[in-house]
């Protein structure tokens, strides 16, 4: 994440006027190309599970007007929000404690790494049997997906705080609380936010998987039902919604990230 990047197109050297490819809006063009490929491949393939984009969009608008999408979307978003809130609350506190105190790291490290690398979905049946087929189980699955990457990034971020800053603050008589709040958390913020970004992306995956596995509600439930009917267009229509949710969640995190870590010089940012 410390990869150097230089912003292009900001040089002051006058250049001859010619079509500047670097000024083209890359993301919209890329989306347009992707949509065209989907449409063409879908038309040529002619299989029920990969209909062309136009069919999927038509189905999507019909599902929305039939009232299939919005209530499920609301359910899913609540699951997601609760899961992310728990992951952030517990994850940040645990991560800071592990990064700051060796004994906490020694005690919890093995669990955190084990659960980070374990396939999170295997816990779904356990939650299902313990918490029942309700919201609690889905939120628990979301937490299993999202929390551990946040913990690990936060712990590393705290450990990477320059020792000279800690020493400086101590020389001015900083208490442990002041050290954490005024020095370590701000210094660690960029790396912590990188972990939060990863965690939120994983939370969306957790929400869908949890709902598909457990639920009688939410978008995951709609997907499960549609695929049971071999209704490829509906599955892909919901997938589009899920992608939109994931991208919005990550965009929201990036917005917060900019607010918190606006001080990081642009030359040392990983993603301009």
């Amino acid at each position: 994440m410390i990869a150097l990047t230089e912003r292009s197109g900001t040089g002051t050297v006058p250049r001859r006027r010619r079509p500047d490819w670097r000024r083209m809006p890359v993301a919209p063009l890329s989306l347009l190309a992707g949509a065209a490929v989907w449409e063409v491949v879908g038309l040529l393939a002619g299989v029920p599970f990969f209909p062309p984009l136009s069919t999927v969009l038509t189905r999507l608008s019909k599902m929305v007007s039939d009232g299939l999408i919005l209530p499920s979307l609301g359910d899913s978003l609540v699951n997601l929000a609760l899961g992310i809130a728990v992951s952030l609350g517990v994850g940040l506190v645990t991560g800071v404690a592990m990064g700051r105190y060796r004994r906490v790291e020694a005690a919890l490290g093995v669990y955190v790494y084990a659960l980070l690398t374990a396939p999170s979905l295997v816990f779904a049946p356990i939650f299902f049997s313990l918490l029942g087929a309700g919201r609690g189980s889905i939120v628990a699955v979301v937490v299993m997906y999202a929390m551990f990457v946040i913990i690990i990034n936060t712990a590393s971020a705290i450990q990477a705080v320059p020792a000279q800053l800690v020493e400086m603050a101590r020389s001015y008589g900083a208490s442990e609380r002041q050290l954490l709040v005024s020095v370590m958390l701000p210094a660690a913020a960029p790396m912590i936010m990188a972990g939060v970004r990863l965690g939120v992306g994983r939370a969306v995956a957790g929400m869908i998987n949890g709902e598909m596995f457990i639920a009688v509600v939410g978008l995951g439930h709609v997907v499960t039902e549609a695929s049971g009917r071999f209704d490829g267009a509906s599955v892909l229509a919901v997938l589009l919604i899920i992608i939109a949710v994931a991208l919005s969640a990550v965009a929201l995190v990036q917005l917060v990230d900019r607010k918190i870590t606006g001080w990081v010089p642009s030359t040392s940012r990983g993603n301009p």
Binding site: P162, Q164, L165, E167, M168, A169, R170, S171, Y172, G173, A174, Q178, S182, V183, P186, A187, A189, T261, W263, V264, P265
Partner: protein, 264 residues
Amino acid sequence: MIEIRGLGKSFVGQDGGTVEALHDVDLDVVENEFLTVLGPSGCGKTTLLKCIAGLIPWNEGDIVIDGTPVRGPGPDRSMVFQNFALLPWATVLDNVGFGLRLRGVGRAEREERARSLIDVVGLSGFETKRPHELSGGMQQRVGIARALAVQPSVLLMDEPFGAVDEQTRRLLQEELLSIWEQHRLTVVFITHSMEEAVLLGDRVVLMSARPGRIAEIVPVPLQRPRSNDVGALERSGAYVEITAYLWDRLREMHEEHRPSEVAG
């Protein structure tokens, strides 16, 4: 007044053996004295300074400041660091006020004092800049202003100009002299440059390595104030004589410890 008696500090080295960083150091620093500490690398001069700052524990001896034994960092001391140690996310104003904030000084008073110190170090107009927008010399001015803002009676400086270029270093030396002449406080200044040690100090503590101990304390009989004509001072006989003497002593120490390197 700082009284250091029989100070000894050792720690476990990378090979598991015990390294004696300081051995039986006795030193008095009188009120408002500018004391410079000079020595080869590894002589424990930074360790000595961190002990006085209360940042690291020691094994033997005592450090007493104005009658109070040092048990940790205290409001009577503040430190200037070689690599500046500024908060990269904070503005110049917030960096200078950081020590005050840790000590619970309210925002209005903090900013007022920070502004006046920013003026003292010649950074007016840069209050809202962040460290990465400043040159090394300007960053260390922020470091000095931050240390002075808490109104210490002892200023501890750990090779503060070691990381800036030669020209900036000379300007900062002159400014530090004139600040010290106006504010009058006790300064312990670590350096590896004999010119800097003589130019700034009332006395030069010469330390030798392995174990770190005081080899000699050399008085600097140059008149004050020195900030108004540093050039003339550097051409004076006394200045030339003392720096030459210090270099002779330092060269002896290097030859004792690394004969092959000097001979080769």
